[in-house]
Symmetry: C2
Subunit: 444 residues, 2 copies
């Protein structure tokens, strides 16, 4: 019998420790994956990939007690040697290798992609086919560190605002968003569906915790094969009670974006630099009515409106351009969407019932958030369902929550992959999805 | 056009603000759900439920400018009045109501459950049937605040240990854990499954980020109808590279538990008190071999071993009892599980290949974690698959990752609902699941 008393300290050093705690001239032990080897003849540079970045080690015959040939690209090794300063090496340091320990060897060192190049010069298709290898590229990997920062900021910010984190079921009896884009499965001989959103559950939980959030996968069986659609994505959802109006939700989202940009600036500086990302200014985000911006854009760019009830992707792009040109903002809230295009639970605008107290947030011309105030009064909810010819069947649990009292509330859902994509300047949402699921892609 | 510049300050106060920022005698505005009304004749107490707890408001004719009858249980209201000290009220304060604003009224104030009682004296079945109402009970709600703390601690601790958060797909072409307990669905006319675990993906990502974690739902089509099984649960998963042995994983989990207990003690004191939870001592956690503890328990309690390759629930209970009696610990790592009962990716013990370098963590006699070291060498992985008669078909992406070099690594998965359940002393995992999914329950 043994006892475990907590995290063990490693004898090998991470890059941050090498830079801070270790001193040039000191003997250090470091492990890592062999990212690339540059053999210059009398000396060779072995670049190791570690979680914090790359570190250069130098092989020189006579100093090292092993043969360079023992090191293969894609091997995982541990080295021991003297830490030295070198202004040309990553981080300004390098290790002059003395001893080598092979931790693991590839059975095939010919990688399908040249991951050690600064930019992976290959097709998106190839990157997705060899995903686990492609992501070993430093730039590819950095995208998902940024994504981590965005998720982390969402949670930390909302904890600070009195929100409670919830976990709602992804298998259910019916979808929350309606429409045909729903995955169906057999649940012990009963028909079931995958959640299109946590909408009903997060609303029900506002009656319990006042403010809730969830960061979890959602599933949409959309048959769109575009650069902006995924069939499974991570949704950053929140729902808040006791709002004075749907403006409170946009104000909260603005607060999140401000918090997120600060967190990225502070803790993800390295990755921002690797990807050459300039963070957007989120000091203030303009908000403009759906019908108003449609006209503004139509006037300014001579765009012909085809669909008066929705925004087409090209219109979103023009609105983004307008917001940048007129208000110097990468973000713009488009408010008061037509009731026709919003789900039954959206609260209609009492001043004009053709519109709703709802909004989308566009980032560089693409919708990354849908939100709004919800109906909290049972009678009004029932009326709206009836007017839409909807049945209450199967909605009992949801509706009962409102029968038994609910505060005025609203919320939103942010598509994490789209937010990441726009932030780092990618043009296909698959670039910022670890393992995308689309019409043709179920693997890896 | 308007601008949003960040979170808006509410004019109403939360409980924490009333206790800290406000002064007795001051006029305050507070909103909340009417939890219960106690009408004493000349005076009435209206208890409001807010996210931070309960607050007492006092109604007295002549002071209030409205009729008490205007307030219904389950209404959501905003009140204005004088803050006063009262040692008998929750938090030692109360509000003498002057003005009332009704934010929302229930259409049915007869709640199906008496949520304002301290303990909800009703069956688990009823609590689950009326979940959104049952959770309005202060004790029921507190369970999920504790659960939040456990998840939050997991992430915060691992961020601090250099882990990267990942989001892996829940729809895939095949399961990672094998066996029959897999949900199947149609994915655009292709057969697909729901992820039993993020196992393959998190391993693949060790080759990218060295250390990764995920907190996400997993799906198990188990036909067990027990107090400890769910068909969908939240798995706290991590996977770490560059380990010296599988002990590093247990050490990391011990570190997590220590961090979690500290976080709960610091930030969830109120909820621990509501539920009367005494946090377990996690200074040191004993670890004992599977075969050894089987014998120890058999000797001490005269238990007959039926299955030499696995632990039955009754055996887990006895091991928990043994650990408490002999080592004064609520937790115990059981190590070196038989190879037969572990998946193909588990690393066999080089000293005795009938066993694996794996472990379960038991908490008060129940398995809450399974973990271990994985095979990182492609050839050994292929050999083991062949020995088990497994085909490499459909496993190409997973296996290729190993072909191209992987560090020694291992990890674990913690069942969040079970961990919460054991921590707060519940005996059915549904008690600590927001909306459980089991053989018979697909709603709410």
């Amino acid at each position: 019998m043994d006892y475990f008393t907590g995290v063990r300290r490693n004898e090998t050093l991470e890059i941050g420790e090498l830079l801070k705690a270790a001193k040039p001239g000191q003997n250090v032990r470091v492990n890592g994956a062999v990212h690339t080897i540059r053999d210059m003849g009398n000396v060779a540079f072995v670049i190791l990939r570690k979680r914090e970045g790359l570190i250069q080690s130098v092989y020189e015959k006579g100093i090292a007690d092993f043969d360079l040939k023992e090191i293969k690209e894609a091997s995982v090794i541990e080295i021991e040697g003297r830490l030295e300063e070198n202004g040309k090496a990553p981080g300004g340091i390098e290790i002059r290798m003395e001893k080598l320990k092979i931790l693991s060897e590839p059975s095939d060192e010919r990688l399908p992609l040249a991951i050690s190049k600064w930019k992976l010069n290959t097709s998106l298709e190839a990157k997705l086919n060899y995903r686990a290898i492609a992501l070993r590229n430093i730039r590819e990997r950095a995208k998902f560190c940024i994504q981590e920062g965005l998720t982390r900021a969402f949670r930390d910010f909302l904890y600070g605002q009195g929100f409670t984190e919830i976990h709602t079921p992804k298998i259910g009896a019916r979808g929350a968003e309606g429409g045909a884009n729903i995955f169906r499965l057999d649940y012990f001989h009963r028909p079931a569906v995958l959640a299109q959103s946590p909408q009903f559950y997060k609303q029900m939980m506002v009656g319990v915790f006042d403010r809730v959030f969830e960061t979890a996968p959602v599933f949409r069986a959309e048959k769109h094969n575009t650069k902006r659609h995924l069939n499974e994505y991570t949704s950053l959802d929140f729902e808040m009670g006791y709002i004075d109006g749907f403006e409170d939700i946009m104000a909260m989202e603005t607060g999140y974006l401000q918090y997120a940009m600060e967190l990225l600036e502070r803790d993800y500086k390295k990755e921002l630099k690797i990807l050459d990302v300039a963070l957007p200014d989120v000091t203030r985000i303009p908000a403009v009515k759906f019908s108003e911006i449609k006209e503004l854009v139509s006037e300014k760019y001579g765009h012909q409106m085809r669909n008066p009830f929705d925004l087409e992707p090209e219109e979103e792009l023009l609105i983004g351009r307008y917001a940048k040109e007129e208000w110097d903002s990468d973000f713009v809230f488009v408010t008061h969407y037509p009731s026709k295009k919003r789900p039954f639970y959206a609260m209609d605008d009492p001043e004009d019932r053709r519109y709703t107290l709802s909004f989308d947030l566009l980032f560089k011309g693409m919708e990354i958030t849908t939100g709004g105030q919800r109906i909290h009064d049972y009678r009004r909810l029932a009326e709206k369902m009836e007017a839409r010819g909807m049945s209450e069947e199967g909605m009992g649990d949801y509706l009962d929550t409102f029968r038994h009292g609910m505060p005025p509330h609203g919320g939103l859902g942010i598509g994490l992959e789209r937010l990441t994509m726009k932030l780092i300047g990618e043009d296909n949402v698959r670039e910022t999805t670890l393992f995308p699921r689309d019409l043709s892609r179920l693997e890896p």
